[in-house]
Symmetry: C2
Subunit: 571 residues, 2 copies
C-alpha cells in the first residue's frame, strides 16, 4: 500500500486522556480513534492488526476442534430471565426495547443464547460433546471505561461454549482449550501465565485466567520463578515446607511491651524479627468465636480460612465481641489461657515457631518464649495465609514471585449453572433424561491487541511482533522529490509486493524527519530506506526492534528481508 493513499492519521502529541503506553501509541500511530467513552473505531492499520489477532485465534480454535458460528448481539430479555441474569447482571448489561416494547439485552456474553440453541437442537448423548465459538462484538457498560481497548464498553471477544454428557468429557475439552489458549498467546509472544483463579459465586474449582504479566494489570498473581505455576494471589496454596528452628524451649514469660500493639512495634520493642511473633486475631465464624494465629510476617487469607472452617459467614470480631470473649482489646489478645468455648486455628507456619512472642490478653504485656505445643490448646493447623514472594512454589519448583496481570483469557467449567435453569437436557445411554454439563472459554480479542501493544514498544513507538504486524516491510523514499530515491523506492515496493510481502511504501512528499518518526511510531518490523545512496544502488535495512541497521545493494534486499523476517520469527 502506498502511504500517500492510506488513512493513517498520526499524532505528534501524547493524547491527554490516555494513561498507558498502548492506549497512547495506538492513538498516536493512527490505529484507533475514540468515538465515545470506552467505544473505539479501528482505523485501517488497527483493523489489519485486529484481523491478524482474530486469524490466529480462529486457527488455533479450529485446530482444537471448536466450530465457528455467530450469534446475535440483540438477545431477548426472556432468555436472561430464564437464567436469572436479567435481574442479577446489573447496570453493565445494556438494555433496550424494540418498537413493539419487547425488552432486549445487548450481548455482554452469550451463555443464554447458545444454551437455548443447543437445548432446542440436541436431544441425545450421541450428538455430544459439542464445542462452538464465535468472534464477536460484546457490549458491557463499564462504570469506568479506561486504558483504551483494555477496558471498553464495546469490544471484540472470542467466546466458546462446550456441552457434555459427562464430567470427563468436559475435563478433556477444558484441557484442550487450555492448550489452545497457550498456543494462541505463545503465537503473540506474550509473557503470560495460566493462572488458577477465584471461582467466585459460580463455584466449581476449575477456572483459569490467562494473564499477561504487566505493571498496568489490574490483578495480582503469584507465579513460580522456575515452573509455569501461577495463581491469583487469593487462590495460591502455601505448602508445608517450614523448618523447626534449632534450640531448647525456654520458660514462657510475660514482659512489659508498653504501648506496642502492631507487629512492627512489638518487634522493635523486643528487638526480635517479625517472624518470631505470633499474630492473634479473633473471628466470629457462623456466630462462634475462633482465635486465628498466623506468623507476624504473614497475613490471614479469609477465603482460605472460610473454606477451612466451612463457614457461611466469617467476620473479624468487633471490639465488643473481643472484650466479651477475651476480656481485652484487639491487638493485645493471645492464645494462652483462653476460654474453652473459643476454638483455635493456626496457620501451618505457626507450628514451626519456637520461643515466640504472642499477646497476653492484657494491655502493655506480651509473652516471650511462647511454644504453642506446650503453652496453648493446640487446636488445628491449616494453610490459612496469603502466599508471599519468596515462598516455595506450591508445585515444588522455584520460589514465588508476584506480578500484576492483564486478563486476556478465561476458561471456566460452568457445570450446570446455565443448563439446569434453562433445562438443556438430553437422553443418556439408558434413555434417561440428564442435564448437560457446560464449559465456557473466552479471549478478549481487542484487549489482546492492546496487551501486545503494551508489551511491544519503546520511546519512539510500537514494535509489532511478526504474527500481527500490519505490514511486513516498510519502504521509505527519504526524499520523494528526488527521482533516484523515488524510483528506487517504487521499484523496491513493487519487487517486495510481487515476492508476496505485505509492504507499506512511504511515497509521501514529507520531510525525512516526519517519515522516520512515523515509521518508528507505526512499528513495522523491517524498514528499507532509499536515501542519498539510492543512485549508487545502495539502500539501508533497519530492524525496528533492535535498531540494528546496515547498508546493502538494492539487489540483495529481497533475500535480506526474507532472512531478517525468519530471524525475527525465531525470536
Amino acid at each position: 500500500m502506498k502511504q500517500s493513499e492510506l488513512f493513517l492519521p498520526t499524532l505528534r502529541e501524547v493524547p491527554s486522556d490516555a494513561d498507558i503506553k498502548s492506549h497512547q501509541l495506538l492513538l498516536r500511530a493512527g490505529f484507533i480513534r475514540q468515538n465515545a467513552s470506552g467505544i473505539y473505531s479501528f482505523l485501517p492499520l488497527g483493523k489489519k492488526v485486529l484481523q491478524k489477532v482474530e486469524a490466529a485465534v480462529r486457527e488455533e480454535m479450529n485446530r482444537a476442534g471448536s466450530q465457528e458460528m455467530m450469534m446475535p448481539a440483540l438477545q431477548l430479555a426472556d432468555l436472561w430471565e430464564e437464567s436469572g441474569r436479567w435481574q442479577s447482571y446489573g447496570p453493565e448489561l445494556m438494555r433496550l426495547k424494540d418498537r413493539h416494547e419487547r425488552s432486549f439485552a445487548l450481548g455482554a456474553t452469550h451463555e443464554e443464547v447458545i444454551t437455548s440453541i443447543i437445548r432446542d437442537e440436541i436431544k441425545s448423548y450421541k450428538k455430544l460433546p459439542l464445542n462452538l465459538y464465535q468472534i464477536q462484538t460484546k457490549f458491557r457498560d463499564e462504570k469506568r471505561p479506561r486504558f483504551g481497548l483494555l477496558r471498553g464498553r464495546e469490544f471484540i471477544m472470542k467466546d466458546a461454549y462446550s456441552f457434555h454428557h459427562t464430567q470427563e468429557s468436559l475435563d478433556e475439552t477444558y484441557e484442550t482449550m487450555k492448550k489452545a489458549y497457550s498456543a494462541i498467546f505463545e503465537r503473540f509472544k506474550l509473557n503470560f501465565r495460566s493462572v488458577l483463579a477465584d471461582s467466585g459465586a459460580i463455584g466449581g474449582k476449575d477456572n483459569h485466567e490467562f494473564m499477561v504479566l504487566s505493571d498496568i494489570g489490574e490483578d495480582w498473581i503469584a507465579y513460580s520463578s522456575e515452573s509455569d505455576f501461577a495463581a491469583n494471589i487469593e487462590m495460591a496454596p502455601v505448602i508445608d515446607q517450614y523448618e523447626m528452628p534449632e534450640g531448647e524451649q525456654l520458660p514462657i514469660q510475660a514482659v512489659d511491651t508498653r504501648s506496642a500493639r502492631k507487629i512492627e512495634e512489638v518487634a522493635a520493642e523486643l528487638g526480635c524479627r517479625e517472624d518470631q511473633i505470633i499474630k492473634s486475631l479473633l473471628f466470629i465464624a457462623d456466630e462462634k468465636p475462633v482465635l486465628v494465629l498466623v506468623r507476624g510476617d504473614h497475613e490471614v487469607n479469609e477465603i482460605k480460612l472460610k473454606n477451612v472452617l466451612d463457614a457461611e459467614v466469617l467476620e473479624l470480631a468487633s471490639e465488643d465481641e473481643t472484650a466479651k470473649w477475651m476480656g481485652t482489646a484487639p491487638g493485645t489478645i493471645g492464645p494462652v489461657n483462653i476460654s474453652g468455648e473459643i476454638s483455635v486455628i493456626a496457620d501451618t507456619a505457626v507450628k514451626y515457631t519456637k520461643n515466640a512472642v504472642c499477646g497476653a490478653n492484657q494491655e502493655s504485656t506480651h509473652y516471650i518464649n511462647f511454644n504453642i505445643d506446650r503453652d496453648a490448646s493446640a487446636g488445628k493447623y491449616a494453610d490459612i495465609r496469603f502466599i508471599k514472594e519468596g515462598d516455595p512454589s506450591p508445585d515444588g519448583s522455584g520460589t514465588i514471585l508476584f506480578a500484576k496481570g492483564i486478563e486476556v483469557g478465561h476458561v471456566f467449567k460452568l457445570g450446570k449453572v446455565y443448563s439446569e435453569p434453562m433445562k438443556a437436557e438430553f437422553l443418556d445411554e439408558n434413555g434417561k433424561n440428564q442435564t448437560m454439563i457446560m464449559g465456557c472459554y473466552g479471549i478478549g480479542v481487542s484487549r489482546t491487541l492492546a496487551a501486545i501493544a503494551e508489551e511491544n514498544n519503546d520511546d519512539k513507538g510500537l514494535i509489532w511482533p511478526l504474527e500481527v504486524t500490519p505490514f511486513d516491510v516498510h519502504v521509505i523514499a527519504v526524499n520523494s522529490k528526488n527521482a533516484e530515491q523515488a524510483e528506487a523506492g517504487e521499484a523496491l515496493y513493487s519487487q517486495l509486493k510481487e515476492a508476496g510481502f505485505d509492504c507499506l511504501y512511504d511515497d509521501r512528499p514529507e520531510r525525512a524527519g516526519v517519515k522516520f518518526a512515523d515509521a518508528d511510531l507505526i512499528g513495522i518490523p523491517v524498514r528499507i530506506t532509499a536515501g542519498k545512496k539510492a543512485g549508487e544502488g545502495i539502500v539501508e535495512l533497519k530492524i525496528r526492534k533492535t535498531g540494528e541497521s546496515y547498508e546493502l545493494p538494492v539487489d540483495d534486499v529481497l533475500d535480506a528481508v526474507k532472512k531478517e523476517l525468519i530471524k525475527l520469527a525465531g525470536n
Copy 2:
C-alpha cells in the same frame, strides 16, 4: 470435517413460518436458526458461507482501493442530532441509554460516525480522496421482518464511504465502486442488474441499486433483453423511437360511445386498439390546470411529469376541479376546444398517432379521427409515461423486460448531505475552506447470502456455487458399519484433505436415505459415495447441480474432483 462431530441440525419438515425457498432451506439445512423475530444465529455451515461471501466482498473492495476499518455499533445520539437523523430516522433506528443516561443509537448505518472521524482528521485536499469500508453488523428495527435473512433486524452489511475534494473525484470513485460491485456479484454468479434508482428525498441523480432478479423481490425493475441497461420502473426513460402510422388524416368526427369511459370500454365500443386512443387526464400543478395526454396503452408517470413541469405540488384534479375547467366529468375529457388557460402536455408517443380517438368533453361522446397537430393546441411533448415491456431499451439495444428484484447493493452520490450539516471541511489548493463531497456504497452481506440460496436450489435442497460453498467435496460412507465402506470413506477424506480440498465426510451411523437426503439438502457441489462397490475400489461421483453421476476407481477420485470443480467454476 467429520459430519459426526459437526453441529449441523437438519430438519425434514418445512418450517411453518418460512415463506420463501432460501429461508426454508437455510433453516432446514442447519445453516441458520432464528433467535427472535428478524434476528438469526449462523450455525457452523452458515458461518462458513457467510465468511466466503465476506471474503469475496473484501477482496474486490481492497482491489478497488477501498481501505477496511471498523466502526462501533454504539453511536452517540449527538452525532445523529448533528445530521438531523435522530429526529427523522423514525422507529427503525434502535435507541438506548447508557448507565449515565446518555442516548445512543445502535448503528443502522455509519454516515455520521465516519463523517465525524474524517472531519476531525482530514484538513487538506492533499489527503483526499479517501474510500473506507467496513463489514459489520447493522441494526434496523423493521416493522415487518420477513423472508429470513432477506429482511432482518440485525444483519451484516459492507458499507463504504468516500470523501472528495471535487465532483470529478467522486464520479471516478463512483464508477470504480460500480465496477467492483459488478465483479462481486459476478463472483457469486447471481443474475443481477445495476439499476438506475430513484434518488428519493436526498437528491442527486447518480444512484444505482444492484438488484438480483427474483420472483420474491420487492421492487420492480425494467431491463434490456440485450444490454445491461436496467432501471427502477419509475426511473426508466422512454426513448423517442415511435413511427408515424401510414395513411391520410381523415375529418374529425364526434361519435356516440354510450357509457364507455375506460380505455378498454371505448376500444371495445369502437372496435379499435387501445394504442389508437388518447387518454386525457387533468392535473393541478402548483394550482394551475394541466391537461395531460398519453396513449391509451400507456400510463402517466407522475415522477417524470412532475420533473418536466418543474412542479412543487402535482395532483390529479378532483371532480369539482374537472367540472370547473373542462365543464364535464373525468373520463369524458379531451384536448379539443379547451380554455386557453389550460396548458396541454402530451407524451411523446401521442405525437405519433393519426386518426386517433379522444374524449369530447361531454358524456357518451368521443371524437374519432383526432389528429393532435390539426385538432388541438399542440402544447408540449415530453417523456411522461411509464416504460412498458416490449418498449425499446433506452440505450438502443434490445427491448424492455420487467422483473422483480432483491436489492443486494446500493451506490449513492451523497454530495454534501452529511458533510454540510456536520461541517466536514478542508482547505483547497487556494487555502479556501470547502465542504467535502461524499459517496456511500452498501452491500447487504447476509442478504446476498440469502439471495444466492434463493437462486441456487431445487426440490431437494441447496446447490451452492463454488465461490461460497461451505465445503468443496462431500464424502459419504453409505454404511459406516461396513468396514470396506468406512475405510474407503476415511481414506478418501484424508486424501482429499491432504490435497487441499475442504472436505465434509459423512461418517455418521445413519441410514443411507438420511445421509443422501442431508447431502442434497446441504448442497455441496461434488459428492463422492463409497457404497457397495467400495471393496472393489469403485466409488461414485455425483454433481449436485446437474444430478450427473458416474462410477470411478478410488485412485481416480482426486483427478476427477479437480476436473469437476474446474468445470463447475467455469459454468
